[in-house]
């Protein structure tokens, strides 16, 4: 099914077209959400919220950009909203709970994901879209409504920050580089 075709069908509230679209994008949308939540179940909920929102508001899609750009735009905005809500929640719970998560038991993949998650939002979003979703810098610029040069710079800075975290926290990488 072509993009145009399933968009048109979704506008008529065709659930089969909706499921088709979900099957095409769910892995990438889930990965994108996971980079913000660090929890599979929360990422699943968030990604499902994105799909429901897209389906319910498909009439607002003017087809000025590609459907995938529209979908990623909604996803990043939902993820940023989620991060804001969570930072308020963490601030409030942090007033009463004084514990720090131990990083000793987490495996390598989780450690890398957490390192990416710890990056500032303006650096993390382009990095995730570029590496996980595999979008081009031009597409990311369209999604985030930013100039191409800004996106290039942010990906570069994000990667350098990530490198610093890895080299500081995991001495093995730093020694290998010498």
């Amino acid at each position: 099914m072509e993009e145009q075709e399933f968009v048109e069908k979704m506008k008529t509230k065709d659930e089969n077209a909706f499921i088709y679209m979900v099957d095409v994008y769910k892995k990438r949308i889930l990965s994108l959400c996971y980079s913000y939540t660090s929890d599979y179940y929360e990422a699943e909920d968030l990604s499902q919220e994105v799909f429901i929102s897209v389906f319910n508001n498909i009439d607002k899609f003017r087809e000025e950009s590609s459907f995938s750009t529209y979908l990623y735009k909604i996803t990043t905005s939902k993820c940023i909203d989620y991060t804001r809500k969570r930072s308020i929640k963490n601030f409030l719970t942090g007033l009463f709970i004084f514990s720090k998560e131990s990083t000793q038991d987490i495996d390598n993949q989780n450690f890398i994901r957490q390192s990416i998650q710890s990056l500032p939002l303006n650096l993390k979003t382009p990095l995730v879209l570029y590496y996980y979703i595999g979008l081009t810098q031009k597409e990311i610029a369209d999604i985030l409504n930013l100039p191409l040069k800004t996106i290039e710079g942010r990906i570069y800075r994000a990667k350098n920050k990530f490198k610093n975290i890895i080299e500081t926290e995991v001495p093995f990488y730093a020694e290998q580089k010498r």
């Binding site: 769910k26 889930l30 996971y34 699943e44 429901i52 993949q109 990667k159």
Partner: protein, 101 residues
């Protein structure tokens, strides 16, 4: 911007490869979609908020009117009357008994 991918690029890309979508994903999604479309679900979501508002109003009403004081007064007056009636009944019974003897 570099063109060739280095070790760090590969690390970042591979870090999300083990994330898999659950088999129940579509089923849960459709359940959520249909739940959101039902008008009753919105009404059900409002019930806790209405209950909270009603509880607040009730506590304001109680504190303004000091209703609990009135209830306690009524309760103690009721018990007073009951005790007095009981004493009176006993004294009447005793009086009748004395007459009988």
């Amino acid at each position: 911007m570099q063109n060739k991918r280095d070790d760090f690029d590969t690390i970042i890309i591979n870090s999300f490869k083990d994330i898999t979508v659950s088999d129940e994903y579509n089923k849960k999604l459709m359940q959520k979609l249909h739940k959101k479309q039902l008008p009753d679900s919105k009404r059900n979501n409002l019930i806790p908020s209405y209950a909270l508002i009603a509880a607040g109003l009730l506590s304001i009403f109680l504190s303004i009117t000091s209703l609990q004081v009135h209830i306690t007064n009524f309760e103690s007056r009721f018990f007073d009357k009951a005790v007095i009636t009981e004493i009176n009944q006993h004294s009447i019974i005793n009086f009748i008994k004395q007459l009988g003897e």
